[in-house]
Every structure is written in C-alpha cells, then in structure tokens.
Amino acid sequence: MSQTVVSLAISFLLGLMLLSVFAVIAMRNLFAAIILLGIYSLLAAALFMTLDAVDVAFTEAAVGAGISTILILATLLHVGHDTKAKKIIKPAPLLLVLAVGALLVYGTLDLPEFGNAQNRVHQSEITRHYLEKSPGKNGEIGIPNVVTSILASYRGYDTLGEVTVVFCAAIGVMSLLGGLRKKKKQTTVSNDSTTDSAS
C-alpha cells in the first residue's frame, strides 16, 4: 500500500517538475524564468524527501531554491529582465537532444528494479559496513547520522576538496566582480552605440 503511495508521489512530483522545466524554456521574461527555476529546485527537494534522502533534500532546498535563485536574480539586476529571442524551437539542437535522449532511454532498459533491497548496490560490503558498524554505542564512529559520518570521517578528504572548491568560487567571483567601479550608465551608453554601428 505505501509502495504505491510512494510511487504515485514520485510520479506526481516529476510531472510538476516537467511542467516547470518547459515553462522555464518557454518564458521570455527572465525574472519569471528564474522564479520558476526556484520552484523546480524546491520540487526536487520534495522529491528527494520522498526518496529518503533527507540530508540531500535539506541541502537542495537551502542551496538550490535559496542561494542559486538569489544569485541569478542579482545578475538580472545588471543585465535586464527580457530576452530578445525570436524562436524558441530550433530544429538542429532539437534533433541532437532527441538523439541523446533515445540513447539514454535505451540505457535505462538495463537498470535494476527500482527500490528492490536485493539490488547489487545495496548488497555491497561497504554499504553494509557503513550501516552496521559505524553508528551505535559500539560502532566505529558512534553517531546516528550515517551520511554525516561518511561525509566527515570516512570520506573526509573529499569534503576537504569540496570546501576548497567553495572557497575558490569566492576567490573567483571576487576577482571578477570585486574591482568594478560603479560606472554602469556610461559603459552601457557607449556599448549600445558601438553595437548599433556594428550591426
């Protein structure tokens, strides 16, 4: 009974996400498109909750629906809200994308059955080691949240790399945007006149 509820919830959320993605592509107003992107991230977070991934849902809701949306909206402050796109459907990219899609669909025919506890990925020794031997009073690490214990202790070196990547993103954005002076109005006028003469 609960299995059908879970599968229906997953299908419903995926359908809503599909609608929001098509709306993002079709919208000409960039502000609306980015708000829809925030809605898409929030639906993805809800989907992660249905798939029992609580840490991932937390992070996706905070980072995807929060920070990512705010940053792109702040870009729209500088670049304007409207796109001047004339055609939304272009045939050559559409054919390429459909070809890639056909290959991917052919690949999914080999996927193992969804949610079966006997799948190879759940039977592997390292998963059972993490789930059985790390939490609990006599465990190796002794904290209940297995994801945190993997992230911070067993695979702590990868998390060091991840923190460094976040720090490097800050350095990158600081070097791109840090030294700009506020002469936005002058620059736009001169560039507009140059673009008009070039086109």
Partner: protein, 118 residues
C-alpha cells in the same frame, strides 16, 4: 510495476534533455545557466533514486528505530551532497562571468555578442 518505474526514469531523462536543450539552443546566457542548473538537478535525481529501498527509511540509525527496519543506501547521498555544493559554486562563477560579459559587450544575447566581435 517495472513499467511505472521505467516511466519515472524516462520523465527524468526528458527533464535532462530539456535542460540540455536550454544550454544548446537558447541564445540568452542567463537561460543557458538556468538550463545547466536544471540538467544538474535531474542527474542528482537519477542518482539518488538508485539508493532508495521501497519500505526503507532515511539512513539515521538511533535507538528509536525498530530493529527490523531497512535503511536506504547512504552512499549516493554523500556524493550528491558534494555535487550540489559544487554546482552552486559553478553557477555563481558563471553568473559573475555573465555580468562581466554584459559590461564588456552591452548585451547577453549570443548573436549580438558575436556580431559585436566581428
């Protein structure tokens, strides 16, 4: 049942293709970044759905869970956690590049930038 779950995977693939199409085909740079973000999130869904066990629960093992409960696989969660944060880092750098491009060329439409270059 298998067809229903294959169908779910196919919807995820359609979302992935829509994101890929937005990256390739839109001429607006902000829409390209949005398409990249859509693509990344759909890959995460495909990955996390491999770790789910039907009838299982979240992988938090403390004394309040009953003894015979099955836990979903925590390993994909860890990998995707890192991937999400790296994704927002690349989105931030991409958005900063868009601001600089707009300052340099006056527009963020791909065809106008190419015309300016000629």
């Amino acid at each position: 049942m298998k067809i229903l779950y294959l169908f779910n995977y196919w919807i995820v693939i359609v979302i992935m293709l829509a994101g890929l199409y937005a990256v390739i085909a839109s001429s607006n740079l902000v829409k390209k970044i949005a398409g990249l973000s859509i693509f990344q999130a759909s890959v995460f869904i495909l990955y996390i759905s491999s770790g789910k066990i039907l009838g299982g629960t979240a992988p938090i093992v403390d004394s309040s869970v009953p003894a015979d409960v099955v836990f979903s696989n925590p390993l994909p969660h860890v990998l995707i956690l890192t991937a999400i944060v790296v994704g927002v880092a690349t989105t931030a750098v991409g958005a900063a590049l868009i601001i600089r491009i707009h300052r340099a060329y006056g527009s963020i439409e791909e065809n106008e930038i190419l015309e300016y270059e000629e």
